[in-house]
Amino acid sequence: MKRTWPWLLALVLLSGVAFAMGSYQNDVYRKLLLWITLALGYNFLFGIAGQVAFSHFSFYGLGAYSVVIGITYLGWPLPLAILVSAAFCMAVALLVAIPATRLEGFYLALATLAFAQLFIVLLNEGGQVTGGTGGLANYRLPDMAGFRITGPAYTVVIVVLMLSTLAILLRLDRSHFGRACRAARDNPEAAAAMGVDVRRTRILAYTLTSTLAGLAGMVYAFVDNTVNPTIFGLENVFLLLFMIIIGGIGRAAGAVVGAVLLYLLPFVLSPLIGHHHALVFGLVMVLVVLFQPKGLMGVWDALLARRSPVARNHVDKGAKVQAHG
């Protein structure tokens, strides 16, 4: 029980906020929560498993499109549409992962970029099924057992999604699977010598995080009640990349901080400098890469180490070990 109460508290607080907000703020808040969810998954894939993949946003789109196609074109009830969409995302992720995880670094990046482009082409050319360039609209979340989940109540659904994603990824990170992912990234040869099936680990990490992105996409489909190819374009996957790098790569807290900052920054900057906020992003990105590769979490660690004597001791001890050797 000691483990569950912080999660319950977070659920109550993050959900409660939604009920104090107007509909515009709720819309911004929902999208912020979705960005955090995506950044958390991408952080696991890129930051922990070390896979330079650019397909994360495509799976977000795949989830969104498939659930909408399920309830409209195919006329399925929502639970069936959700189950089939999740299975579909997982199957596509596996299909991409099995050949793509043979590739490393640059080549994996190229293969997943190609997949992301192909996805957009398919959306545009999908005719009646995908709605072509205009996408799909004129649908809404079906009633569940006579209830219609709207307004802040739907925001609660997104809070649950975000917290579950966080809980799942944290548990995976702290398990033998998380260690295998890091080992396969740090030194694949040594990982294999220790009995880690490097390819299987990579395929699993890719499939799991992509499926989580697909689930987030399903939830997103009923935020704007429209899905179209431009939403799932390549620009957004790079924003996702910026989020985890600026926040602090490989750390869940970094992904949260990065997502909050980069999602909210345009709201602050737009009144001041209009659409030039992309310029500010670029500049911040360059500064982070140059001066603090561990991102804002690295800055935070450095501050903590300066403040707390315990942390300072730890740093000193590290230095001593080095001197010792």
Binding site: R3, I168, R171, L172, R174, S175, H176, F177, R179, A180, R182, A183, R185, D186, N187, E189, A190, A191, A192, A193, M194, G195, V196, D197, V198, L204, L208, G250, K317, G318, A319, V321, Q322, H324, G325
Partner: protein, 261 residues
């Protein structure tokens, strides 16, 4: 008395690299709890033999039997699961993890619970994670790194990094441990400590196969030595026998000053 059954039995092991025959028709046996040294001049095929037994490269011909089962055609990661682990000549730690986590990676094949149990946080998953951490501490203690258990890997010296390699390998509960030039790059004090640790490992019934350039170190440690030259076995026996073997002296030892003879 019947001949004891070997733990590892290599028959007709051959490896070609293009036109080069690196290892040719090699037979080798390793018995439980023994320390076997594999030596030979540069280019004799030691490293290639080592890599094949470790599962890092596939033989061109021949078979490797471990506990009576053929390992031919198995992927690298399957070797650790069967009970063969190795250390690397150039330490290969997992840089982003602490020392304890590094050792816990060695336990990968022994963790039996599935990912769904991790995600649900079942009691079994948590208990086995705790047990893995306790075992990691035990092996860190065994090699004498307990002072640094929580330190990042980057803070270790080269010699301490070698000890970490050993702890990580032991965590896999091997029956055969392969050492790739373990003394390379160590100070003489560190070599002494290393020899002690390797004897301690063999004393637990774990077979040890090492390739080594440091002759005094190897001759003092190994109970049996196999000598390779041009990919073929030219001699085997106790360190004393091997050092007086004319073929060995001609091929190799004549060029090196041998201590502890």
């Amino acid at each position: 008395m019947a001949e004891p059954t070997p733990l590892l039995q290599v028959r007709g092991l051959t490896r070609r690299f293009g036109g080069l025959l690196a290892v040719s028709d090699l037979d080798l046996a390793v018995y439980p709890g023994e320390i076997l040294g594999l030596i030979g001049p540069n280019g004799a095929g030691k490293s290639t033999t080592f890599a094949m037994i470790a599962g890092a490269i596939a033989p061109s011909a021949g078979e490797i039997f471990f506990k009576g089962q053929s390992l031919t055609g198995q992927p690298t990661h399957a070797f650790a699961a069967r009970g063969i682990v190795r250390t690397f000549q150039h330490n290969k730690p997992f840089d982003s993890m602490g020392i304890e986590e590094n050792v816990m990676v060695g336990m990968h094949t022994q963790i039996k619970h599935g990912l769904w149990q991790v995600v649900l946080g079942t009691a079994q998953a948590r208990a086995s994670e705790r047990a893995a951490r306790d075992k990691a501490r035990h092996w860190i203690d065994f090699v004498g790194l307990s002072e640094y258990a929580q330190a990042p890997v980057g803070t270790l010296s080269f010699g301490q990094g070698r000890l970490l390699e050993i702890a990580r390998g032991l965590a896999a509960q091997p029956e055969l441990m392969l050492f790739d030039e373990p003394a390379a790059g160590l100070t003489s004090a560190e070599c002494g400590r290393l020899a002690e640790i390797i004897r301690g490992i063999a004393a637990q019934g774990i077979a040890v196969l090492l390739i080594e350039h440091d002759m005094p170190f190897l001759m003092a440690l190994a109970q049996r030595v196999v000598v390779l030259n041009f990919g073929e076995k030219i001699a085997q026996g106790s360190p004393v026998e091997v050092q007086s073997d004319p073929a060995v002296v001609a091929a190799y030892l004549g060029q090196v000053k041998v201590g502890h003879a």
